[in-house]
Point group: C2
Chain length 338, copies 2
């Protein structure tokens, strides 16, 4: 059976559900507006580990263990783990998830990872390849800052367009049975590169990719923005959010009424000194696995379109004068199947 | 329909074919035993680009363009590109494949990438999500060496167990119609970590993961090693190949008759000064897209099991004293469907 709708979207035919989620967040994130929705808030950046990289691995492991416990599933019933992160060679995932003994599919989508892993998990289930699959990702301010920018001790000044990498990990367990919102559509994005090369302005670099994917989603499904109670992007921040609203308006879609960005939601951007807002794989992950899932399960949100946006640059490509290719993947959730 | 066989294997129900492949290889690889099977052999390590990273991107782009041309498909008919590589943030793929305008699924499987991307492409097709999908990967001696080890100018001495990163890119286009061998099974691997931490002995680190996946494949499918004309691993090299034969013997499987490793096949290990053989994502990619596809299309090989093996370490994890978690994914090919 062909499940394609248009060029970039697939519609799932079976009841693929997000059965259980859990998230671990940093102290600063815990103090933000979404703090009460996080399963675990770390007391400090180390969380008992000797290096921040090991902390980030522990965050992924803890998020998945917590999701397993909350869903009362057994690890052996998870057929695949789809996971990735921002660190070179995705070591948060490989070290964090090695003890589970579950077939491991490494993914690299930069900050689009939570949407890509949930989309792939849903494809695995709807395609008959899995009964249950887990999507896991993370980011950590300290590991990302020192890998992508400068040693933390350097204490350099940040530009107004810079974003603050969220310390957080999220795990979602998808299943073909049980409770939880349905994953109904997956719109996968193309790489878009509009020539922006300022690595301190990721929001502007990623907004065109986000607009390309949103546009594809509405065209492919025939839905309008009004269909959704909430359209949410992962980590465009204040600059990218504003750019996306404008770009979508140019394409003929008014999204400002029901659109928000996790990078703007997770921090009180006026008080928490995060400049243009949050970023990182963990930003969408903890917002989805915490706040959004809570609101869907409680009936406050019925139809949600969440979109992860990833900037596919590296420090090497930036040093070589490269631009910032970006990608966005979107997943539609519904509390009831039509 | 449930397509699972045992714990780690799925059996494809429809006719998923590797429709067209192409590969680009480096000069040294072109001088090796498989040289005549490569579509393009580069005249030097730069191939007209200013940085080796840009060369590697160009190799991926060229391999996919060549595969498109050889298969007489149109780029717009490719529904997904699954791709990844060894560079930080997988920039060979993101920069190399950005011009195609095809939904892009970034993958990180280290040197298992060719098997993971072909497995995921086959799942997308068999699951009804795609009619056509491309799997692409690459590695480049110069980019890998300076990222993982030392600046090339440093000219350090290599240990006897060290492997030589293959300069090569491969692209495989899978389709639900047309000619080419069938992709029949995908056995996805678990992360295995036996505590080895010597980053100059990847073969030994990866062999246990390879054994775990091969064992799973034989258990899940009920097949014995004799079923295959060729069982081939990606880049275990001389050390890892020998270790895998021993590990499989301990598990009760005699594989030495029809098993080989691309890292041992691609170079004349006695004459080409590559120590323990070839490695890198490109090693399996060019061997599969060149030699193996040629042999299957000509009828010299009928049933092939190819397995990518990935060492999921990073320079950071090694500097922090970390071990080398590894993973292996295996894909079964058949020239005729049973």
């Amino acid at each position: 059976m062909n499940k394609r709708m248009g060029n970039q979207t697939v519609a799932f035919q079976s009841e693929v559900r997000i059965f259980s989620t859990a998230c671990v967040a940093g102290k600063k994130e815990g103090q933000g507006p979404l703090g009460k929705y996080f399963d675990v808030v770390m007391e400090d950046a180390e969380w008992g580990e000797k290096t921040w990289e090991k902390t980030e691995s522990k965050m992924q492991r803890s998020a998945l263990i917590r999701a397993v416990e909350k869903g009362s599933v057994e690890v052996k019933d998870i057929n695949y783990i789809f996971a990735g992160d921002l660190l070179n060679q995705c070591i948060s995932s490989s070290f964090g998830l090695l003890d589970f003994g579950v077939p491991f599919m490494g993914v690299y989508g930069a900050c689009s990872t939570m949407a890509e892993t949930i989309g792939l998990s849903a494809m695995a289930i709807d395609g008959g390849f899995a009964d249950c699959a887990a999507a896991v990702t993370s980011s950590h301010f300290c590991t990302a800052e020192r890998q992508y920018r400068n040693p933390l001790e350097y204490g350099n000044q940040r530009t107004p367009t810079a974003q603050w990498t969220v310390t957080g990990a999220g795990a979602a367990i998808l299943s073909n049975k049980g409770d939880g919102p349905f994953v109904t559509h997956f719109t996968s994005g193309r790489i878009v590169d509009m020539g922006i090369s300022d690595a301190n302005n990721m929001g502007a670099a990623m907004a065109p990719a986000a607009a390309d994917t949103l546009d594809a989603h509405f065209r492919d499904t025939g839905r309008s923005p009004d269909f959704y109670d909430l359209i949410v992007s992962g980590d465009l921040g204040l600059v990218g959010k504003s750019a996306l609203i404008d770009l979508m308006y140019e394409k003929g879609f008014l999204i400002s009424k029901n659109y928000d960005d996790c990078g703007c939601m997770i921090f009180d951007t006026k008080r928490q000194d995060v400049h243009a807002g949050g970023s990182g794989c963990g930003c969408l992950a903890v917002t989805l696995c915490g706040f959004i899932m809570d609101a869907m399960k409680a009936g406050r949100l019925k139809n949600v379109l969440f979109m992860g946006t990833g900037a596919l640059l590296s420090p090497t490509s930036s040093l070589q004068g490269g631009t910032i290719p970006s990608v966005a993947h979107a997943v539609a959730l519904a509390s009831e199947r039509m």
